[in-house]
C-alpha cells in the first residue's frame, strides 16, 4: 500500500513530450492499456509512462484493488449492521482510485470527495479513521498533514477550489509537489469546479483535476449533464485533458503520471477523465434499481477493473497460488482490522466539541465550555461522562 516508488517513474527523460498544451484531448480516443479481457495493448503515447512497472508492482496494484474492494464491502456490511450511519460504495472504481493514488509522491496533496476511500487507503489513512465520519463519531476523520490528504469533502466539487488554492500556495513556495483533486461527472456541472479550473488555468497552477466519470450523479445519467465528452469541457478553460479507461489501472496510472510531470515542471493543470462505473448504489440509502437499467450493470460487470488486472497477471504467468493467498490474507486482515476499529471506536465525549475549533486558548469558547460542563453536571453526572444527551 502507501505511496511508493511507483510514483517516481516517468520522469522527463524517459517520458514523452509533455510540454504544456501539447494536446487538448479533443477528438482523441479513450486511452486503454489493458483490455477487459486482460490483454496488454500498446499505446504510442502512454506506454512509456508505465514501462518500468515491474511484475511485483503489478501484483501490488492488484492487491490494493482487491483490498479496497474488501474495505468497501465490509463497510457496506457494517452500515447494514447499524455500525455506520451511511457509506458511499466505490465498487467498480478501484482502478481509477488505485492507479491515480499510487502515482503520487508523499509530498503531493490530495483533495477528495467522499467516495475516494480507496485513495485514502493508498495514502495510508488509518482504517478506523476512514470510518469515523460515517459512524458519526467525529466531524472529520484524520489529521490531513500526516498523510497529505484532506478529509473528504461532502459539498459537491468544493474540494477543487481547495486544491487549486493549495496549488497556488505550492507555486508561492517554489516547491515541485502537486495537488490532486478528485470529483465526479456531476461535479463538473458545479460552479465551484468551473471557478477552480479558471483559476488553475490563469495561474498555471500545479493541480490535477481527476474526474471519475462513473456515469451517475446519484440518479442523473451523465449524458444529461454533458452533451460532449466530460474531458472536452477542459478545452474551454485552456486546460489539456485526456480521457482514460478508468477501469484500467495502468492507463489511469500512465495518464496521472503524465499530468504530474507536467505540473511539476511548470506545465500547469491537467484534466483527467477516468471513464468508470459506479457498480453499487450512490450510498447505502439509495436503490439504483429504481432508475438504472440492469443491462447497463451487466455491461460494466464485463469490464471489471480487478478481473482485468487478474487477467493480465494470468497471461504473464504471475497469478501464482502464493500471490492469490497473499492477497486474500491481506484483504482478510484489513477487513478484520476495519471491523474491530469501527466497533471498538470510543464514543466522543460531550466536551470534545470544544477541543477542535481553535488551536490556541479562546476565552469566549472557554466560557461556553464552562457553561456547558456546569449544565451537564446539573444532571448529577459529573462532567457528563455518561451523558446521553451530549454523546452524539
Amino acid at each position: 500500500m502507501f505511496t511508493d516508488e511507483l510514483g517516481q517513474g516517468g520522469n522527463a527523460a524517459g517520458g514523452p513530450d509533455n510540454s504544456a498544451g501539447h494536446h487538448s484531448g479533443t477528438g482523441e480516443s479513450l486511452v486503454q492499456l489493458i483490455t477487459p479481457g486482460g490483454e496488454r495493448v500498446s499505446h504510442p503515447q502512454y506506454d512509456a509512462w508505465v514501462r518500468e512497472v515491474t511484475d511485483e508492482q503489478l501484483g501490488s496494484l492488484y492487491e490494493d484493488m482487491v483490498v479496497i474492494r474488501r474495505i468497501d464491502t465490509e463497510a457496506t456490511a457494517l452500515q447494514r449492521q447499524g455500525e455506520l450511519g451511511l457509506w458511499p460504495p466505490l465498487l467498480g472504481q478501484e482502478a481509477s482510485q488505485v492507479g491515480s493514488a499510487r502515482a503520487l509522491r508523499d509530498d503531493d496533496f490530495v483533495f477528495s470527495s467522499y467516495r475516494e476511500n480507496g485513495v485514502a487507503y493508498c495514502r495510508g489513512v488509518d482504517l478506523a479513521d476512514i470510518l469515523k465520519v460515517w459512524r458519526g463519531n467525529a466531524s472529520s476523520g484524520w489529521d490531513p498533514y500526516t498523510v497529505n490528504m484532506a478529509t473528504p469533502q461532502i459539498i459537491i466539487g468544493a474540494q477543487t477550489l481547495h486544491a487549486t488554492g493549495y496549488a497556488m500556495g505550492i507555486q508561492n513556495d517554489g516547491a515541485d509537489s502537486v495537488a490532486v483533486t478528485y470529483f465526479g461527472d456531476g461535479a463538473t456541472s458545479e460552479g465551484d469546479v468551473n471557478e477552480a479550473m479558471v483559476f488553475a488555468a490563469s495561474f498555471q497552477s500545479p493541480v490535477i483535476f481527476f474526474c471519475q466519470n462513473n456515469h451517475w450523479a446519484i440518479s442523473e445519467p451523465v449524458r444529461l449533464q454533458s452533451h460532449i465528452r466530460i474531458a472536452d469541457r477542459a478545452a474551454g478553460f485552456g486546460i489539456p485533458s485526456v480521457q482514460v479507461d478508468g477501469n484500467d489501472v495502468l492507463a489511469v496510472m500512465a495518464a496521472t503520471r503524465e499530468a504530474i510531470e507536467r505540473a511539476r515542471h511548470g506545465g500547469g493543470p491537467t484534466f483527467i477523465e477516468a471513464v468508470t462505473y459506479r457498480m453499487g448504489p450512490h450510498t447505502t440509502a439509495d436503490d439504483p434499481t429504481r432508475y438504472r437499467d440492469a443491462n447497463e450493470l451487466e455491461d460494466w460487470a464485463a469490464k471489471d477493473p480487478i478481473a482485468r488486472v487478474k487477467g493480465l497477471l494470468e497471461r504473464k504467468g504471475l497469478l501464482t497460488e502464493q500471490l492469490e493467498a497473499q492477497v486474500a490474507a491481506k484483504a482478510d486482515a484489513v477487513a478484520r482490522e476495519l471491523r474491530a476499529g469501527c466497533i471498538n471506536m470510543p464514543d466522543p465525549q460531550p466536551l470534545d466539541i470544544f477541543k477542535h475549533v481553535y488551536s490556541t486558548p479562546n476565552s469566549w469558547l472557554d466560557r461556553q465550555e464552562d457553561h456547558y460542563s456546569r449544565y451537564l453536571a446539573s444532571f448529577g453526572d459529573p462532567a457528563g461522562a455518561n451523558s446521553e444527551e451530549g454523546a452524539r
Binding site: 456490511a77 452500515q79 447499524g82 455500525e83 440509502a285 437499467d293 444532571f379
Partner: protein, 459 residues
C-alpha cells in the same frame, strides 16, 4: 453468550422497516456477514448481513412485520467474543440506554418507557407543568364544544394551556389519514408520547370514553372505520405497478384487437408432443405454444418488437426478443422476461418458462430479469377469463393476452361442432404499430394456433 441484533437505521433517518423474509432459521449456524434477512425500507429492499458468527437462537419478528428501528429482531449464541464486538456490542433489551452500535436518530428505543428528557438533579419547577399536563390532555371539555359549535375557537379559550400531546410526524400523518383527533388520544409511549398503536387502538374502539370516540369518526352512524375499510399504504410492488401502468396507459396510445380462434388442432398437437419421447420431462402448456406462435409471427411483423424512445426521438427496433411473461407473485404483478427468446427451441422455451414462473412465484426474480423486455404475454385464461384490454408493459410496443380454452359450438367443416376455442387480445402502441401490422400479427398467431402446419408457410 447470547447477543441480540437490533434493527438498524438502514437509510438516513428511517424509523422503521419491514422484514420481508428470513434467510436463516433458529438453530442455524451463521458466519459473519452472511445474509440473514431481506428487509424493505421506505427507500430500498436490502439484505441484512449477520453482525456475528454464531448460532441463531431466536427470530423475534415474523416476515411481513413492520419493525421499529432499535427493536431486537434476532438473537445469536456467540462463542466467547469471536466475530463480534467485545465491548461495543448491543446491550440487553429494555435497559433504555442508547445503543453504542446504533447510529442515526431513529435509534433511540422509543418504547422503553423512559422519557427523552431527563430530570435534572436540582428542583426543576419549569419542567413540571409540561410533564403533568401533557399526558392529562383534557379530553371531555373540548369534545362538547366541538360537537356543538361549528367555528372551533372555543377550546383555546376553555383550556388555553392544553398543549397538543407529543407524537411523531408519521403518527400525526396516520392520525390525519384515519381522521383521529390527537387531542383525544392518550399516549402510552415515553413521556406520554402517542404511538401508532395508540392511534390504531383508538380507531378500533378500545376502552375509551364514548365522548372521546365521537371525536375520532367524522361520520355519525358508524364510527368503527377500521372494520368497514382497510387502509394499506401504497408501497413496494403495488406502487411500482401503479406507476408503470399509469405511465404506460397515458403515454402510449393503446389500440386493442380481439380474435377468437379454434385451437383444437393446437391442443391436439400439445397432447401429441407431451406423449412423445422428445418432450419427456418438459412442462408443455398452451402458453408454451402460444409463446412460440407469437415468436414466429413476430418475425413477419418486427414493428411490434420495438420501442418508442421519446427522449432521443428515435424508434428502437429490437433485433432480438426478450419475451415478458406477466406473473402473479405473492408481492404483486411482475413481468420477468426470457432473454433472446426468439433463439430458443421449443424445449428450451418450455424450460425457460418453467424456470421463470417458479422464480417469480418464489419472489426471487432479479432486477435483470425484470428489465429489458421487448414484448409480453399475459395469460388471463388461467383465471377463466376470455378477453380484455391488456396494458402495455412500459417501453414495449405490444402485449398479447391469451384467454381460456373453452369447448364451444363452433363452425367446423360447414357444420356446427364442439371445438376448443380461445380468444386472443392484442394491445399495441399505436404510435409504433399501425392497424395493418397489428392485425396481420394477430391474424398470423391465430392462423398458427388454428393450424400449426401453417408454420411451414411462415418460416
Amino acid at each position: 453468550m447470547i447477543k441480540e441484533f437490533r434493527l438498524p437505521d438502514l437509510g438516513e433517518g428511517l424509523t422503521e422497516s419491514e422484514i420481508l423474509s428470513w434467510k436463516v432459521a433458529v438453530g442455524d449456524t451463521v458466519a459473519l456477514n452472511q445474509v440473514i434477512a431481506e428487509v424493505e425500507t421506505a427507500k430500498a429492499v436490502v439484505e441484512l448481513p449477520s453482525p456475528f458468527a454464531g448460532v441463531i437462537t431466536a427470530l423475534h419478528e415474523q416476515p411481513g412485520t413492520v419493525v421499529e428501528v432499535g427493536k431486537p429482531i434476532v438473537s445469536f449464541e456467540v462463542e466467547g467474543d469471536d466475530g463480534g464486538p467485545s465491548t461495543g456490542g448491543p446491550a440487553p433489551a429494555g435497559t433504555g440506554k442508547r445503543e453504542p452500535n446504533l447510529v442515526g436518530y431513529g435509534a433511540v428505543v422509543e418504547s422503553s418507557g423512559r422519557p427523552a428528557r431527563r430530570a435534572r438533579a436540582f428542583a426543576a419547577p419549569v419542567a413540571e407543568p409540561v410533564e403533568t399536563t401533557a399526558p392529562a390532555a383534557p379530553v371531555v371539555e373540548p369534545v362538547e364544544t366541538r360537537a356543538t359549535a361549528a367555528p372551533v375557537v372555543e377550546p383555546v379559550e376553555t383550556r388555553a394551556t392544553a398543549e397538543r400531546p407529543r407524537s411523531t410526524p408519521p403518527v400525526r400523518k396516520l392520525a390525519k389519514d384515519l381522521g383521529v383527533e390527537l387531542m383525544a388520544v392518550t399516549g402510552t409511549g415515553a413521556g406520554g408520547l402517542i404511538t401508532r398503536d395508540d392511534v390504531r387502538n383508538f380507531v378500533g374502539g378500545g376502552d375509551l370514553p364514548a365522548a372521546a370516540r365521537a371525536l375520532a369518526g367524522a361520520g355519525e352512524g358508524t364510527r368503527t372505520a377500521g372494520e368497514r375499510e382497510t387502509r394499506t399504504p401504497i408501497k413496494g410492488v403495488r406502487k411500482l405497478t401503479a406507476a408503470a401502468m399509469v405511465s404506460s396507459a397515458f403515454t402510449a396510445p393503446h389500440a386493442t384487437e380481439f380474435l377468437t380462434v379454434d385451437v383444437t388442432p393446437t391442443m391436439e398437437l400439445l397432447a401429441r408432443l407431451k406423449a412423445s419421447r422428445a418432450f419427456e420431462g418438459f412442462k408443455l402448456t398452451p402458453l408454451t405454444l402460444v409463446a412460440k406462435a407469437l415468436l414466429i409471427a413476430l418475425r413477419r411483423q418486427p414493428s411490434l418488437n420495438s420501442r418508442w424512445d421519446e427522449a432521443s426521438q428515435e424508434i428502437v427496433q429490437f433485433n432480438y426478443v426478450n419475451l415478458g411473461i406477466a406473473a402473479a407473485t405473492p408481492r404483486g404483478l411482475t413481468v420477468p422476461n426470457i432473454k433472446d427468446a426468439d433463439r430458443l427451441s421449443l424445449t428450451e422455451l418450455s424450460t425457460a418458462l418453467t424456470a421463470l414462473t417458479e422464480t417469480a412465484r418464489a419472489g426471487k426474480t432479479s432486477p435483470a430479469e425484470l428489465s429489458g423486455g421487448t414484448i409480453s404475454i399475459t395469460n388471463i385464461g388461467v383465471f377463466g377469463i376470455d378477453a380484455g384490454t391488456p396494458i402495455l408493459n412500459p417501453g414495449e410496443a405490444a402485449i398479447l393476452a391469451m384467454g381460456a380454452v373453452r369447448k364451444m359450438p363452433w363452425e367446423y367443416k360447414d357444420e356446427v361442432a364442439l371445438r376448443q376455442v380461445m380468444t386472443l387480445s392484442l394491445s399495441f402502441d399505436h404510435r409504433l404499430v399501425d392497424g395493418e401490422q397489428g392485425s396481420r400479427f394477430l391474424a398470423d398467431i391465430g392462423a398458427i394456433l388454428a393450424d400449426p402446419g401453417m408454420v411451414l408457410a411462415m418460416v
